[in-house]
């Protein structure tokens, strides 16, 4: 899945993050997921006459953390607006959002510029009874106001992404970043993280942007990538056929992987934005800003740079560790247990062989304690076992069918200890030279590449427990080819 040849893709993302505050954005109702419908409601979030919104301070603090984590400038006074539209999921007939002066703007994350970050409230949930699952043609519609008024942070990027895979990776990094902040569940399936994309294509090097279309409802990272790729293909084929891309909004159907254009009536709103007269400008105090800044944990991109600078971990590996919160935490745990073992060696084990073993055994695989991983790495470094044996030990530790939980025990029970007694190894090498006279002769006469069959014989004899470098050294020594 990539960009159709002959075109450059221009992709911007719009991400909605539900904040995991105790209460809703403008009232005291508890946030919930999966409760009985309409139990978390009050006169305010049902928009009874005379009710007024009151800003949730915790939501502001969380949003400030997101804004600062994305390197944004926080507006000294941001303004709430009413975004007017009639629909049963909007009890007031307008959504309170931010418009011309958002909470924060002008940030960046991993090279992608952040256009703006603003606070708003979520809509209620509609359930349409009937075939289509959409309001048109449904027999009846039900509204659940539990979700209505949940604090949302909307993050809008500049169109700085140029590939569906890149968009997916960046969105995952954003999720990890927000996850590290602890301000949202960031669960795409449950809707606490939602991602829309603005997509256009243009000839490479062109200055002017093509007409963009908007993709909605891609409720997993995989669908995000697939949806964008499908839309790029569609736009390319429209242009190839001599047509023009129309400004449209598409709904991604995860079941079929197809894009359905929304009827223009469903999105062509004139929202008649109006400054919200029920709220005063949002002016974070110096103290709030300082507290938000101090509450920032180390973020993925910072973590990557630290792994590179402090531990000499190569960039690709550092990125793997830093952008996957779970993997990064594991790595840090292993570092703590890893006295003496080089961090870059541990990093390789975590992202290489351990990850491979986990992939192999899938969800059933057993957890490997960071100290055990370090023990395996140390045995290899100290040449007590070979790298191949180390891999075998890890496999045994992850294997749900195995019951051994200690690396030393695995080495013992499977007799993986390296042949370290040099007189024993010397004897084996001598027997191998005798068994491969032709190869021995070639090595003696100056062809070092002919050593293979002799090494092979040694490895067969030792069942792979001999150190390859040591074996080669011994053979050459014996044959006077050192």
């Amino acid at each position: 899945m990539s960009v159709p040849s002959g075109y450059e893709a221009v992709i911007g993302l719009e991400i909605h993050v539900q904040l995991s505050t105790q209460t809703k954005m403008f009232c005291g109702c508890a946030l919930s997921f999966g409760d009985q419908p309409n139990v978390h409601t009050c006169p305010v979030c049902l928009a009874h006459p005379g009710t007024l919104p009151v800003v949730n301070e915790r939501a502001v603090r969380y949003a400030l953390q997101i804004a600062l984590a994305l390197g944004c400038e926080v507006a000294p006074r941001s303004i709430f607006h009413r975004k007017n539209y009639f629909y049963p999921d909007s009890p007031k007939g307008y959504q309170i959002s931010q418009y011309d002066i958002p909470l924060a703007a002008n940030g960046s994350l991993a090279g992608v510029r952040i256009h703006r970050v603003h606070l708003e409230e979520d809509a209620a949930k509609m359930v349409h009874l009937g075939e289509s699952g959409r309001i048109h043609g449904s027999a009846a519609s039900l509204v659940d106001f539990n979700r209505g008024g949940t604090p949302l942070v909307e993050i809008v990027t500049e169109p700085d992404l140029h590939d569906p895979g890149e968009a997916r990776q960046w969105a995952q990094l954003l999720r990890t970043t927000v996850e590290q902040l602890g301000v949202s569940d960031v669960n795409m399936e449950e809707g606490s993280l939602r991602c829309d994309a603005n997509v256009s294509i243009r000839p490479p090097g062109a200055e002017e942007l093509g007409t963009k279309t908007e993709l909605k409802n891609m409720n997993s990272f995989r669908f995000l990538e697939r949806g964008i790729a499908a839309e790029l293909e569609r736009q390319a084929s429209v242009l190839e056929a001599g047509g023009e891309v129309a400004q449209e909004t598409f709904h991604f159907d995860p079941r079929t992987g197809s894009l359905t254009p929304l009827r223009s009536k469903e999105y062509a709103h004139d929202y008649r934005y109006l400054p919200e007269p029920d709220l005063v400008p949002l002016a974070p105090t110096e103290q709030m800003l300082r507290e938000a800044r101090e509450a920032l944990p180390e973020l993925p991109d910072q973590r990557r740079r630290r792994y590179e600078a402090e531990f000499g971990v190569p960039e690709v590996t550092a990125r793997q560790l830093a952008f996957d919160a779970e993997l990064g935490t594991y790595f840090e745990g292993a570092l703590e247990a890893g006295d003496g073992v080089e961090p870059s060696v541990i990093a390789n084990w975590v992202t290489g062989d351990l990850a491979a073993a986990r992939r192999h055994f899938g969800a059933d695989g057993r957890e490997v304690a960071p100290a055990h991983l370090v023990a395996v790495a140390r045995m290899v470094v100290e040449k007590r076992i070979t790298h191949a044996s180390g891999r075998e030990v890890l496999d045994a530790l992850v294997d749900p069918g195995s019951s051994i939980g200690d690396p030393e025990e695995v080495v013992e029970s499977r007799q993986l200890a390296a042949v370290s007694d040099s007189s024993e190894l010397e004897a084996i090498v001598e027997r191998a030279i005798e068994a491969e006279p032709a190869a021995a002769e070639k090595v003696r006469s100056g062809n070092p590449k002919a050593i293979g069959p002799i090494v092979g014989a040694v490895m067969r004899e030792t069942k792979g427990r001999a150190d390859g470098g040591e074996v080669t050294r011994l053979i050459r020594e014996k044959l006077g080819a050192a």
Binding site: P43, L46, A47, H48, P49, G50, T51, L52, P53, V54, V55, R82, N84, F86, P88, P91, K92, G93, Y94, I135, S141, V143, D270, R272, Y273, L274, P277, D278, L279, V280
Partner: protein
């Protein structure tokens, strides 16, 4: 008419406190009067034959102990019908009580009834009520003013000792003027708007309708204060002093020409009463001089963009989905919306929703809403400039005395001019009071009717405003009461 109905709220509270007046006797007298009223002032009344509970057990230190209050039906009262004067809320019983009402009952007051009004506060004659017009107790062929017409008529006709209302562009002051009582609109933010059904949120403010200035201070004192449920409420720093001043020595009064001599449609009788009041202010030691509010003449135009714009959003929630009226929708959402709102809203409300929707539409926002906001800013600056030279500004409250029912219903613009003198103060958010300045014949002749004197002060200077109003009230000595006849 018994004597107790002539007492002011403060007098009654004092007599009840001293044991000279029984709280039950007092309440029963008003409940009975309200039950028998013929002005259509009330939309809901407390049952005169009992069932009244809370409030009779008056807490100690309750400044309004035993005082019945009429509440404009734009305030939510828990489990008590609240209509906003609109058919769209017929039968609606709110699940909570407005902060202003709760603070009154906390101070010992009792809700006597809910008063009639122009639908959602939109009107200047009470003829826009979904439940019929209110009649002016001075002359039942005339309007009581609006939108708090029911509250004003009830207080003037001795159907309530005092009342609260809401003022967006003059809705407390203008009916107070037309009914010959005192109407106070405090500074925007002085009293919580929580539970006050919104018309134009940046202008709406709870106000009082009373027999005298002291009662206005008493009610304001009970209701003002910051409310954490209303982010725009701040209360009045230092609280509210009960007025005691008898003279105006050393105080400077500005008279903006734009809102007095040059006011559109100013009646001769109103002008004469106003001039007499200025003379009394001078006699009390006040300095009176002309002043300028150069942009005040544009106040009405700006108001009729801003208020409808906010209203168009505020009234979107009446959609038939969760409460109030729902028309059959032919199984189609849009159809249900349209039929519900068509059946539930009256003509003036629809007109303002359309005006506001248009003003906010893409492509028109700057030309209308943006421009009106800039005019509002200029008006705020005009007042700030004037208050650099003057302690108070005075104007007639309404250019005319009470007009006849139906006289302006065919011309929205003529109706809007009723608020010509009151709207600029609303746009500036400053405290303003209307007190009776005497009686005057309408242009074209007829029996004499009340005229109001409007006094404005800088933001949150309520105590100073009430003091001056109290002094002027004493000098005017207005003691006429409506004949309550057929006129």
């Amino acid at each position: 008419m018994t004597d107790v109905l002539e007492l002011t709220a403060a007098q009654a509270a004092r007599q009840i406190e001293a044991g000279e007046l029984g709280a039950d006797e007092y309440l029963d007298a008003y409940a009975e009067a309200a039950a028998g009223e013929e002005l259509n002032a009330y939309l809901w009344r407390e049952d005169p034959n009992g069932g009244r509970g809370g409030g009779r057990d008056r807490p100690a230190d309750a400044p309004l102990g035993g005082v019945p209050v009429a509440v404009k039906d734009l305030f939510c009262t828990e489990d008590v019908p609240t209509t906003a004067g609109s058919r769209i809320l017929e039968g609606y019983r709110p699940p909570y009580t407005a902060t202003a009402v709760r603070k009154l009952t906390d101070a010992g007051a009792l809700v006597l009834g809910k008063t009639n009004l122009d639908e959602f506060g939109m009107g200047s004659s009470n003829e826009n009520s979904g439940y019929g017009p209110v009649l002016n107790p001075w002359d039942r062929r005339r309007v009581p003013g609006g939108s708090s017409g029911g509250s004003a008529a009830a207080v003037a006709a001795r159907l309530a000792p005092c009342a609260i209302g809401t003022d967006t562009g003059g809705s407390v002051r203008q009916p107070a003027s037309l009914c010959g009582i005192v109407g106070l609109k405090p500074t925007y933010g002085a009293i919580s708007r929580q539970g006050m059904i919104a018309f134009a949120s940046s202008l709406d403010q709870c106000g009082t309708l009373t027999r005298d200035v002291a009662d206005a201070a008493l009610l304001l004192r009970a209701m003002e204060g910051r409310d954490r449920c209303d982010s725009t409420s701040v209360g009045i720093e230092g609280g509210v002093e009960l007025p005691s001043r008898e003279d105006l020595e050393g105080l400077r009064f500005g008279v903006p020409r734009e809102l007095s001599a040059d006011a559109e449609g100013l009646e001769a009788g109103v002008s004469a009463a106003f001039e007499r009041a200025l003379g009394l202010i001078r006699e009390l030691g006040g300095e009176v001089d002309e002043c300028e509010l150069p942009h005040a003449a544009h106040g009405l135009s700006a108001y009729y963009v801003l208020a409808p714009a906010e209203a168009s959003a505020n009234l979107a929630r009446y959609d038939g989905v969760r409460f109030g009226l729902r028309a059959d929708g032919d199984a189609d959402l849009l159809n249900m919306y349209e039929r519900t709102r068509d059946a539930g809203f009256g003509a003036e409300v629809k007109r303002r929703i359309m005006l506001g929707t248009y003003a906010l539409s893409s492509g028109y926002y700057e030309a209308y809403y943006g421009r009106a906001q800039r005019v509002r800013t200029r008006i705020v600056e005009d007042f700030a400039g004037a208050f650099g030279r003057f302690d108070y500004l005075v104007t007639p409250t309404s250019p005319t005395v009470a007009f006849e029912l139906g006289a302006r219903t065919d011309s929205p613009l003529a109706m809007y001019l009723s608020d010509y003198c009151t709207v600029p103060m609303s746009l500036a958010g400053i405290p303003t009071i209307s007190i009776p300045a005497g009686l005057a014949e309408p242009d074209g002749g007829g029996p004499e009717l009340p005229v109001g004197l409007q006094i404005a002060a800088p933001a949150f200077a309520e105590s100073r405003l009430l003091d001056a109003a109290h002094a002027i009230e004493g000098a005017i000595g207005f003691d006429a009461t409506p004949g309550l006849g057929g006129g």
